[in-house]
């Protein structure tokens, strides 16, 4: 029986006539890392701020550790938050930054400093306590921000696009650090990002959002392999969306005819680019071939449809104009709404 750390019940957040979050409900278990993923303006950051208490819901309830905190301001919730800009206090040293929270909450000064030292040790910043934030590298600043957020053992740790200010090359390392830290301390964490690759890499579960509503909730594998809608399929990874029709247990589109267990009628199906195989000689034409180092990417035309196909670099290369045959395993075809 897992314990519920965070729960949203029919939460609505309006700004004037605009609705940022439109009646969403979900719950997050203790120790879980959940990502809010979606395009900008989908309500993911607002949802995070609703958990933090930086926004209060217009309707519905926000519960943390079983307690309804819908009307409590941020200062009265036990949350830690890592901001996109880190938001380190530039006029305080690293130690003062980390000891700020405990001091505010009434911990004696010496004790607060001890705790700050201990946490800084844990995140590998021992020896930098007396520096000002401006004297640290970006990665170090980020670790200070994390240390500052977890020093008070929060009920939940919130990340607002924490990697957007990190060098592209470092991102992989930093996100592994975050994941490692979250596991080591057994923290419940909520993570906001618009980068689907980042979301897939760090999350236990992902909440995909669209226009203030939840499009789908699931583990990374579930979302990738069983997207519930064309939107999710398209947003997570690359996907071919194929408009077709089902007749007599077969899916028809262009010259494809694949067995499928579905009722007759018009449908949309998706298939991942790497699930399509190409055999030389056929009626489809390669429109373009791009060399991407680790793989080849082809755009293939079959009658009025275009397919994006991704093949390992080890396979024989094809070039634009080549005739190919599209081979699709019916099991890889997913019908979506």
């Amino acid at each position: 029986m897992t314990e519920t750390a965070i729960e949203f019940v029919d939460v609505v957040k309006r700004y004037g006539s605009a609705t940022a979050v439109d009646r969403i409900s979900f719950s997050i278990a203790r120790g879980e890392l959940v990502t809010f993923l979606g395009p900008s303006g989908c309500g993911k950051t607002t949802s995070l701020r609703l958990i933090a208490g930086l926004e209060l819901p217009s309707e519905g309830q926000v519960k943390i550790a079983g307690r309804d905190v819908s009307r409590d301001p941020a200062s009265e919730r036990n949350v830690g938050m890592v901001f996109q800009s880190y938001a380190l206090f530039p006029h305080m040293t690293v130690l003062e930054n980390v000891a700020y929270g405990p001091t505010i909450r009434g911990v004696a000064k010496a004790e607060a400093r001890d705790r700050a030292h201990a946490i800084l040790d844990q995140v590998g910043l021992a020896g930098l306590e007396a520096r000002l934030p401006s004297e640290l590298s970006g990665g170090q600043q980020q670790r200070v921000a994390v240390a500052r957020a977890i020093v008070q053992q929060p009920d939940v740790l919130l990340f607002d696009e924490p990697l957007s200010n990190v060098d592209a090359k470092l991102r992989r390392k930093v996100r592994a650090e975050i994941r490692d830290l979250q596991q080591r301390f057994g923290l419940t964490a909520v993570y906001v990002t618009h980068d689907q690759e980042e979301a897939l890499a760090v999350s236990d579960r992902i909440v995909v959002m669209k226009m203030g509503q939840i499009a789908q909730i699931g583990t990374p594998a579930e979302l990738y392999e069983r997207p519930a809608s064309a939107f999710v399929a398209d947003f997570i990874g690359d996907a071919n969306l194929i408009e077709g029709r089902v007749e007599a247990g077969k899916f028809h589109a262009a010259h494809l005819a694949l067995p499928i267990g579905a009722e007759s009628g018009k449908v949309t199906a998706t298939i991942r680019p790497e699930r399509i195989r190409l055999a030389p000689g056929g009626i489809a034409t390669i429109l373009s071939a791009s060399y991407l180092g680790s793989r080849m990417e082809y755009v293939v035309q079959d009658e009025d449809l275009e397919f994006l196909v991704s093949r390992p670099i080890s396979e024989p290369r094809l070039t634009a104009g080549d005739k190919v045959d599209l081979q699709i395993d019916p099991a890889d075809l997913i019908l979506v709404r």
Partner: protein, 728 residues
């Protein structure tokens, strides 16, 4: 987490406790010392027959009962009862005036109302505070300000203060315009006052006689604003678009008018251009003409105002020029336009919004100006001076003063509205946040000559005026070119001796100087506090009615000082808040006159600071107050410094509002100087002004030392770096 819900209960309960205390244990009326205690409390007064307290006491009791229930802070009943109590609190103050009940039914119900009542004392004051606190707590519990109690309290308190000290007096003054000398409603009297020929006459244009005072005021305002804008533009072009060497000196000169006490520039102009003035005499000898009194009236006021307002327009236009992206002018040049064509077709159109803003600013200042017209006006009457004489002169007529004040206010608000509308539109600011490559195009040579032709006479003239101010107080008679050094004037004002009893101050100016320093010293930090707090609320808190709140605070800035002064006379001469004649009214007046400047400084500084730092502080458990103190204030110290200095200096040199509010016990330096000018004691006035300026400069240095701006450069840099580019 139990601790937290306890504190929220405690906050509401504490305000309720204060309410109970103020109603039962403290003297309600002013005059009674704190020691009078419960015997003079509202409860005791109610028991002894002053029954108009009962409704308020009943509401407070009901609130106490509701507070015993669980979750009372979010109940509609508690909110309703608090609003009712607030209404009854205000009602009891106005139901019974100084000399009796304000309406017949109140007199009928409460017999003792006939005795009247005096103003609020400790009990009355704290009851108001408690109600504001309670209200803020209850609305915060319902989600106002995201449930942030501190912010909620600040907003409620500032709204209550603005209502009491800005809008209530104006309302009261507006009502006074419709009332005759007996206090009865008299629309006919109002109409007679409003349509009086000495207000609207235009005879001066047709050649026969004088114009009305309203026409005079507008003509002066338009001329003054036009000339000040032209001069400001010339200065701005010189600084921004030429290789002129003395830029720093120009900037320094432009600060002078801010620390120059009123009247003294007028006096210097009289000493230069009056009938026996230095320049007048020189020109008369040279040209063999009879010296005249030409400077008194429109020309004199105009000269003084242009001198005073040019620095303001200069700063506005300088920032406009600096905001023009040089690449636009470069584009024009590469397309083949000559320098003059580029200026005419690119630079000038981009400048227009700035010109309009500068013009309206100077126009509003000219409308509000009191010091120059009263010294140099002669027979040329303007509204601010006429209002003054309607209240302070021999013919006391508050109704007439109120009518004139309403006209002046209407003119100002129209200009203010135009300004807001103009600023509200997307101005042609071409700053993109990217660094602009290229240098501003230098001014075409013809324009440069024109600009110098305007600026150099101005520099000479300013120098002449300030030389008069610098030496006038310390020579026998600068007006007759008797330059024998003397400390006589200074000694009249500031003589002191070390007697056996200690330091003895004999000079006639000591009283007003000491009062001025005290009042300015108390007002400055309070003004800064209210101003910065308001800026923080507007910039950082998201609450219902934020725009109205912002507009209200800005509006209070637009009200001319003369109108504020006369409205305070109208509102605070009588209970429930009768504070005329005290030092408090001076301090309060300064706080609400100058607070918008602190607010602007604060807004500008806050715009530079990443909001998420405050949010970080909140998520770490700090409430609004702690966040403000430990995170925000350290980061906006330059703005705090600016606000402190400005409010201090303005309090030292302000005249238009205080002139109505000074009393024999609490006289201000500017009022004293005005008295000396009226008596023709110019040298004394100049000596005092010079001392005042030196004192101000010293105080600014002390403030700078106390607030400490030394480390700031580095901090700003740090902040910029962490927020903008946390690169690895």
């Amino acid at each position: 987490m139990a601790r937290i819900s306890l504190t929220s209960d405690r906050a509401g309960a504490a305000w309720l406790g204060l309410l109970a205390l103020s109603l039962t244990a403290l003297p309600w009326y002013k005059g009674a010392g704190l020691l009078a205690g419960p015997a003079a409390s509202a409860l005791a007064e109610a028991l002894s027959g002053r029954g108009w307290f009962w409704p308020l006491i009943a509401a407070a009791l009901a609130l106490g009962a509701v507070a015993l229930t669980r979750g009372w802070q979010v109940s509609r009943l508690a909110l309703g009862l608090t609003l009712a109590a607030a209404f009854l609190y205000v009602w009891q103050g106005f139901a019974v005036g100084l000399r009796g009940p304000s309406s017949d039914w109140v007199g009928g119900v409460f017999a003792r109302a006939a005795e009247g009542q005096t103003g609020l004392g400790w009990g009355g004051f704290l009851a108001g505070v408690a109600l504001v606190g309670l209200l803020s707590d209850l609305v915060a519990a319902r989600g106002f300000c995201r449930g942030e109690r501190f912010a909620s309290f600040c907003i409620t308190a500032i709204v209550a203060l603005l209502t009491t000290f800005v809008f209530f007096p104006i309302l009261k003054l507006g009502l006074a315009a419709f009332v005759d000398t007996e206090g009865n409603l008299a629309l006919a009297t109002f109409w007679a006052r409003l349509s009086a020929p000495d207000l609207w006459g235009v005879a001066c244009f047709t050649g026969g006689g004088r114009c009305g005072v309203v026409v005079n005021t507008v003509v002066l305002g338009v001329l003054s604003a036009t000339l000040a804008t032209a001069l400001g533009l010339a200065l701005a072009l010189l600084v921004n678009r030429t290789d002129f060497r003395m830029k720093r000196a120009l900037r320094a000169i432009s600060i002078l008018p801010i620390i120059t006490p009123p009247f003294v520039v007028g006096v210097a102009i009289i000493l230069l251009f009056g009938r026996t003035g230095l320049v007048t005499g020189f020109v008369a000898d040279l040209m063999e003409v009879r010296p005249t009194r030409w400077v008194y009236g429109l020309p004199g006021i105009l000269i003084a105002q242009v001198l005073a307002f040019a620095p303001v327009t200069f700063l506005v236009l300088l920032s406009t020029l600096e905001a023009i992206n040089p690449t636009l002018e470069e584009a024009s040049r590469t397309l083949g336009a000559r320098a003059m064509t580029t200026f005419r077709t690119v630079t000038w159109p981009l400048l227009r919004p700035g010109l309009a803003a500068a013009f309206l600013l100077a126009f509003i200042e000219s409308l509000a100006d009191f010091g120059n017209p009263i010294v140099l006006g002669g027979g040329y009457e303007v509204l601010s001076v006429k209002i003054f004489f309607a209240v302070v002169g021999a013919r006391y007529d508050l109704g007439n003063a109120a009518t004139l004040a309403m006209i002046l206010l209407a003119l100002t608000l129209i200009a203010f509205w135009l300004q807001m509308r103009w600023m509200g539109k997307k101005s042609y600011v071409t700053v993109t946040g990217k660094s602009d490559a290229g240098l501003a195009a230098p001014l075409p040579p013809i324009l440069k000559i024109g600009v110098l032709a305007v600026v150099l006479p101005w520099v000479l003239f300013t120098l002449a005026v300030y030389i008069i101010i610098a030496v006038g107080g310390f020579v026998t008679d600068v007006g007759r070119w008797d330059l024998t050094p003397t400390l006589g004037h200074l000694s009249t004002a500031f003589r002191f001796e070390f007697a056996e009893t200690g330091l003895e101050l004999y000079g006639s100016a000591w009283d007003s100087m000491i009062t001025t320093l005290w009042v300015a010293g108390i007002a400055a930090p309070l003004t800064t506090l209210v101003g910065i707090l308001t800026a923080w609320l507007v910039a950082r808190q998201d609450f219902a009615g934020r725009r109205a709140f912002e507009f209200g605070t800005m509006l209070s800035f637009a009200i001319p000082g003369t109108v504020v002064g006369v409205s305070y006379v109208a509102a605070f001469n009588v209970p429930p808040v009768d504070i005329t004649g005290t030092a408090a009214i001076l301090i309060i007046c300064f706080i609400f006159r100058n607070m918008p400047v602190g607010m602007r400084a604060g807004l500008a500084a806050l715009a530079q600071i990443d909001k998420s730092m405050e949010e970080a502080s909140q998520t770490m458990g700090a409430g609004g107050g702690t966040t403000l103190r430990r995170v925000v204030l350290p980061l906006i110290r330059p703005a705090v410094f600016t606000a402190l200095v400005y409010s201090f200096v303005t309090a030292m040199t302000a005249v238009s509002a205080v002139i109505f509010l000074v009393s024999a016990r609490h006289n201000m330096a500017t009022a004293y100087i005005m008295g000396r000018v009226e008596a023709g004691e110019y040298a004394l006035a100049i000596a005092y002004s010079a001392v005042l300026m030196i004192v101000m400069i010293l105080c600014v240095v002390v403030i700078q030392f106390l607030v400490g701006t030394r480390k700031l450069g580095r901090r700003q840099e740090l902040q910029g770096r962490t927020a903008a580019e946390p690169a690895e």
